[in-house]
Amino acid sequence: MRRYVPHISSEAKAALELIADKGTDAAEYGDAFYRLGQYLAKRLKGAGLGRKTLLVCTSEDADFLARGIFESISEQTARRTPAAFACFWQTRFDPAKEKSNKKRFEVAPIIKRYEEQTDDEIDSLIVAKSIIATSCVVRHALLDTVGRKHPKKIFVVAPVISEGAPERLRAEFPKKVADLFHFVYFATDGSPDENGMVWPGIGGNIYERLPLSKTGGMLTPRIVTERRQKHEAELLRVS
């Protein structure tokens, strides 16, 4: 049974219904995630991101949910240090042969990253994910960044989370880190099924539903290409 957070806008609710609907086409699905990113960013605004912010996302979320959040928070911090963007490519692997052990040992290490430079101490770390089901991908993103960037606040942001996801994620970290977590989301669905899927959730597997264009073995999000080119142009200009 889905539960919405209080004071959710009708626009956010409509976008959540669109992504849960298996009949929504790929372009509309991607647009809905982009808008959800913008709506979630409004909630982040009230929480006070501070001067130095790093947004982290996975490659499949980068052009949709994460772009929506990033563009919105970048507007808000226009007169401060620009927010930095990071995209992680994570390889999910479940080593368990036996069904009873599946998911218990699932891992998603980062094997490739695009990450813009930030100080070793930041005000806010935002980890954006289309859905937090088993928490495996988010856990690895946090494991990588928290120790390196020493954020004062950690925002775990997703349109939909599964029942108990905040508690499961907090249990993985030392208390002083877990106490920094703020979960920003719109809806809670039931627990993940044996395949790690949550229903209605985001209407199935995001890889099959988003308009992702792979030119080789791995996806390169447009936002990464754009920002990398911008960064390289900056470097050329400075030199």
């Binding site: 490519w89 390889t91 692997f93 080593p95 368990a96 042969k97 036996e98 052990n101 218990r104 040992f105 699932e106 891992v107 290490p109 980062i110 094997i111 490739k112 990253r113 695009y114 990450e115 813009e116 430079q117 856990r139 690895h140 993103a141 494991l143 990588d144 928290v146 120790g147 390196r148 249990a171 993985e172 970290f173 030392p174 792979k214 030119t215 080789g216 073995g217 791995m218 996806l219 390169t220 290409t225 990398r228 960064h231 390289e232 470097l235």
Partner: protein, 300 residues
């Protein structure tokens, strides 16, 4: 490691029956979630530290076997090195009160009988009690029953359930690092810890360090270091990679680490001796990417 007859010969038929009942009582279904399993992970890591030489190759004479619920008195974990006939037995107690006790079935009696059994089979044996607080460990070490002091130890191991929390315990961190490819970040150390815990859980009652590593490689598990690292990649692959502006790579612990400019970096998920890496090399050689944008789709 020991048979019913050997235990009976060394300690008498009553104690052999006691060991038999003890061995039947192990909660095998829970393996992977228990305190003793997380402790086993530490010992697997420590064994790996000894087994990989300075050149990063696995030395077979340092291979050890790991047994859980073994047929013996001190049975939570037994680490046995056949090359030297050396056995380290561990009993792990993650509870508030632990005492040596007296009489049959006490820790004191189990530890004494274990040393007697080892001696009867000419196996150099140590017995260690593992507890969840440093204070408790200190007190129990001071109270080791008389006559057992030489080969009996008490160790502390943290009670934390998640591997990420256990990383703050340096011996665990160092142990997992010895099984990981390069770049020991928390993300990567937890990955290797979870993979090994899975391998240990599925191993049954006995396995070896080498077998666990080989099993993970067979399943194409990411980041686990190779037994024998590749030290050089093909000249044709080198030529293509070297031609890409601002792209740098190195081979570390048998893996290819790379970086591009100041924003992009990574480490190929499997070591350079795997089929996956060979397929990557083949694709790169045949497609000859000339920019990072062309190459990056292959860097999985």
């Amino acid at each position: 490691m020991y048979s019913l007859q050997e235990v009976a010969a060394a300690c008498g038929p009553n104690l052999a029956r006691y060991v038999q009942n003890k061995a039947r009582g192990g909660a095998a279904g829970q393996k992977g979630t228990r305190y003793e399993d997380r402790f086993a992970l530490l010992k697997i890591g420590e064994a790996a530290q000894a087994a990989f030489d300075r050149n990063g190759s696995f030395s077979a004479r340092w291979n050890v076997s790991f047994r859980s619920q073994a047929f013996c008195f001190v049975d939570d974990l037994v680490v046995y090195r056949s090359a030297t006939r050396t056995a380290h037995h561990y009993q792990a107690k993650n509870q508030a009160t632990v005492s040596w006790g007296k009489g049959a079935k006490s820790l004191s009696s189990d530890f004494r009988n274990q040393l007697k059994l080892g001696k009867s089979r000419k196996i150099q044996t140590t017995v260690t009690l593992v507890v969840n607080s440093k204070g408790k460990a200190k007190k129990l070490q001071a109270d080791v029953p008389s006559g057992l002091e030489k080969y009996t130890f008490v160790s502390f191991f943290p009670p934390d359930q998640s591997i990420s929390k256990l990383l703050k315990y340096k011996p665990m961190r160092d142990g997992l690092n010895s099984l990981l490819g390069p770049d020991p970040t928390d993300d990567r150390l937890v990955t290797v810890g979870m993979l090994l815990l899975s391998a240990w859980t599925e191993a049954g009652k006995v396995t070896t360090l080498k077998k666990m590593i080989e099993d993970l490689h067979k399943r194409e598990a990411p980041l686990v270091r190779p037994l024998n690292p590749v030290r050089v990649i093909s000249s044709r692959l080198r030529a293509v990679l070297n031609s890409i502006p601002d792209f740098h790579y190195s081979l570390e612990k048998g893996f290819m680490r790379w970086r591009y400019g100041t924003t992009d970096r990574g480490c190929f998920s499997q070591h350079c001796g795997t089929k996956k890496f060979a397929a990557f090399a083949q694709r790169v050689i045949s497609r000859r990417p000339s920019t990072f944008a062309d190459l990056e789709v292959e860097l999985g």
